[in-house]
Amino acid sequence: MKKLISLAACAVISTAVWAQTKPAESKTAADSLLNSMDSTPKAEPVIATFKSTRLILGATTETVKKNNLNFLVIHRFGDIGGSEGGGKTLLGLDNSSDIYIGFEYGVSDNLDIDFGRSKFAQQVDLGLKYAIVHQTSDNATPFAVTLLGKAGIKAYHADQGEFPTFADRFAYVAQAIIARKFSSNFSLQLTPTYVRNNSPFPFLAGNERSFFAMGIAGRLKVTKRMGIVVDYAHPFSSFRSNATGDNAFYDPLGIGIEIETGGHVFTIVFSNAKAITETSYLSASQSDWGKGQFRLGFTISRMFSFNKKAKKAY
């Protein structure tokens, strides 16, 4: 570094000498010394791969930063078309397939605790999300990896003997979310997932309790604050693939727009998945886009900061 500075100083001085005869070049004198001081910009971690911790169906690589609280309200209306939709339910607006209220608190900049409650199965979830790898601007690390683990309990009063034992109420999900911000406008993520659902809906003989799934989701920003989002997942479950007729399963797919207004992120979507929490929409999506069994939904994400004092940079 010293060598660089001294070299730069030499260069500057020699130019400065020139400057005495050529005033036009005088500007480059200080300039080159300045450049020598920070000519090698450090690689920065890539930020804001996604605007929110949720895209449509699943979680993103984003975590809630330290001492911040993210408050989530996620709503899915009823089927727009099909037997439950149409005019009699005002395109499903009279029904609610699922309502999710969530709180996510940042323990550190890379770790948050997630708590949420769904209307669907009255499931209460508690989870941890940890950003293990950050993408860097020099592409030394080309993608970000965030791990998510959640445990859920179906809390509803079961009067039909749905849950023979208490353990049957539990469902778990583990995800490794891998995302890359290709440009400031385009981000894509893959989400290998493991689901363990002790009593998956519907209650049918042979319904698989454990299976792998893969999610793929992306965002394309149209303006700085608005983007088109797509989220899709496929459960690798032979029971689900082979089920036909009334019990057929369909891969959850959501398409929507995302609007950021400062503290809030709004997502307005169409999705065939009725449920919001991972264990449920991966296990129990039996609505078919082709039959009009998709619904309007929205997500409101509001970030609160509890950092009172300014961070000191020096």
Binding site: C10, I13, A16, L33, L34, R225, T261, A310, K312, Y314
Partner: protein, 183 residues
Amino acid sequence: MKYICIILLAWLSIKNQAGQDFYACKNAKISLFSSAPLEDIQASSGSGTSVYNPATGDLAFSVGIRSFQFPKSLMQEHFNENYMESDKYPKATFKGKIKEPVDITKNGSYPVNVTGELNVHGVTQTRTITGTVVVNNGTVSMTSEFMVKCADHKIDIPTLVFKKIAESIKMNVSATYTAVKSS
């Protein structure tokens, strides 16, 4: 590298006997503040770099946009992502010349006007910025306070954010220099 340096110095010693000192600062404190109806916005960076040549009056500053620290991390993210677009424009720079003569061999406080080019968000504006140079027993330091209008640098403030962002940002700069010996 060394040889180039030696050659340059040798050439210099023949051509010129001045042997001026340059002054450099690697930890200039640069902070921004704006008061808006809903909340104040403030951030600071302690890693600005600056070079000052007392002989010619040349003065240059550079600061990495990502080095600004905000109390609210979401605000910091929006600052980089939505307003400054720091992935495209990673630095803000100023290159100018001090108009008034400053005698760095004499202790004192010198009010100065610096005219030069301010580059923020990839847009260059010619500005005359007032500041103070303080010389105290060979230590040279500078302070300045000036306003930057977002519109001057094509920093969009969308109507959707409900007037959270002020149209002008107050900047404070302070730098303490160390001499970089030329010989």
